[in-house]
Subunit: 353 residues, 2 copies
Amino acid sequence: MENLAIGIIGGGQLGRMLAMAASRLGFKVIVLDPMVDCPAAQLCSDHIVADYDDEAALEVLAQRTRIITYEFENVPVATAHFLEAKTTIFPPSRALEISQDRLTEKQFFARCSIPTVPYWQIDNKQDLHAALMESGGTGILKTRRLGYDGKGQHWFNSAVSEVDMSKAMEAINHAPAILEGFIDFACEISVLAARSQKGVVEYFDIPQNIHREGILRCSQVPASIDDIIADQARDYTQRLLEALDYVGVIAVEFFVTKDGGLIANEFAPRVHNSGHWSEAVCCVSQFDQHIRAITGLTLVRPQRHGDCVMENLIGEDVAKLPELLGQENVLIHLYGKHEVRAGRKMGHFTRIF
Amino acid sequence: MENLAIGIIGGGQLGRMLAMAASRLGFKVIVLDPMVDCPAAQLCSDHIVADYDDEAALEVLAQRTRIITYEFENVPVATAHFLEAKTTIFPPSRALEISQDRLTEKQFFARCSIPTVPYWQIDNKQDLHAALMESGGTGILKTRRLGYDGKGQHWFNSAVSEVDMSKAMEAINHAPAILEGFIDFACEISVLAARSQKGVVEYFDIPQNIHREGILRCSQVPASIDDIIADQARDYTQRLLEALDYVGVIAVEFFVTKDGGLIANEFAPRVHNSGHWSEAVCCVSQFDQHIRAITGLTLVRPQRHGDCVMENLIGEDVAKLPELLGQENVLIHLYGKHEVRAGRKMGHFTRIF
């Protein structure tokens, strides 16, 4: 087996876990991240400390690796294009580009005949006014770009005044936005799937996710959904994978409505927090499967050896560690972050039943 | 949780897997190994390239870490003593010292009332002659020090001439040795246990091991032994752990005789090849448990989620990889070694049933 080097753009916890998986498969890893002490830095052969748009650094990364991937969806599209001209980058830049803009993402879902929540394009206060008239005064105003973990969002829970609208537009700095209508859902699920370079698709079992304050708190497997819904969710995901000519692991978040319908929320062109449980109960985790897909290795059906719940350790949650360390059937995974900050993902654990 | 750094002496595959486990528990790792491109180098915060007896380098390692451990039992005892005077090193140097010499190891087993194979101290050809007279002409001549994976051994399968004896003594370079009598065993097992700084002991389920040409080929869990034998093996192991005031993971190899007796073969004061399966079917692997023990964290009873067989990929066995990658329920772990050599451990895989 040749010792192929893999480049990873972004050295957060996802890059760190990808680096571990790549190592277990015998690959060397070079991470590019501007932070000297990023979580992945401790677990790679080499770390190029540079900004994501530093072309000289990207050039070095391309020269020293055979395949490049990324761990977050806000890698500049120009970076992906720059690399694409020189080397192989998976998932394809088109997936990155579409997922970076909530409007194009929703339009792409529609093109694949995948239902989404009602939404309105918001470029100014007039648009917001008109949209809120239609939505009945409620909805979530979200910037089209760069929001994550509940940041860059504004909730309208009841009819609002012009002043409130102005404040909301100011709060998002008048950035291009969309208003998403509320929907009444029974639960949230995500489909984690991998597509190989040859177009083979394999699915992980579907987790049910619980968010709080816009951040994923826990994922439970299996989800409490019936097979028809699960099949439908996989079918939607497959359409998306094929339309994108995707290679790698993808995560597609869905709302399950009370009448058993499915509504796509968003997709992430990368490994995903809601798939972390796979390292505890599958021989092939989402990280392994992603590395297999991008390097052209065989994908495998990821069998699950137990029911489980993955829970994030966010900020002061790390205080639970001494107790968790004493519990059987709990796999603990910390990210090596020194500083505990509110809302910061410090680690996670998976409890197997 | 403070970001405590752990030093590991030795950067082979065991150091590499210890480094991964330490990272998952949020620790930084600094490895000391003379080989620039050793397997652990790719998975640690820092790698001090130095010989194991380089005191200046050891001094740096001690200053930059809070706890030091090792991944192989041939770390010079002088190195352990040097470090002990400056910092904390686990397992204790006494375990290292005893395990490095097959004679003192056997004597120590005897002190703990743990049965061993019959053995004779061999310092010269006369000793060998006398020993072979007593053993009936058969046995294995082993150097007291530095043998592993079947190296430094000479087998006497039938009565031999003086010339054969001279050749055998020459083959081991007249090094101090022992002759071990053959025993007729039903199977080989190993006890993997961890002892904490507070003296708490936790056991992994006992694997049954198959060796070929002195190298471990596979470990199957559970072993085909009854509970009485398993309890006896754990009891012997506990005596050893307590006599050594041990901290960390230990592996004790036993022969199970055809009449249901147990004979200790040797112990390794470290994580062990016959415990690799634990990463596939336990929330807390032998690597996790070792890191917990040496850093003062709580040990946990390592529950096993399935029956399994771990098999080593030795030398050209890596040719099996394409097939293995396509099999469900197989966890593959490669060590990032570039060059395939006969007898070289390139990786392992665990098949879950």
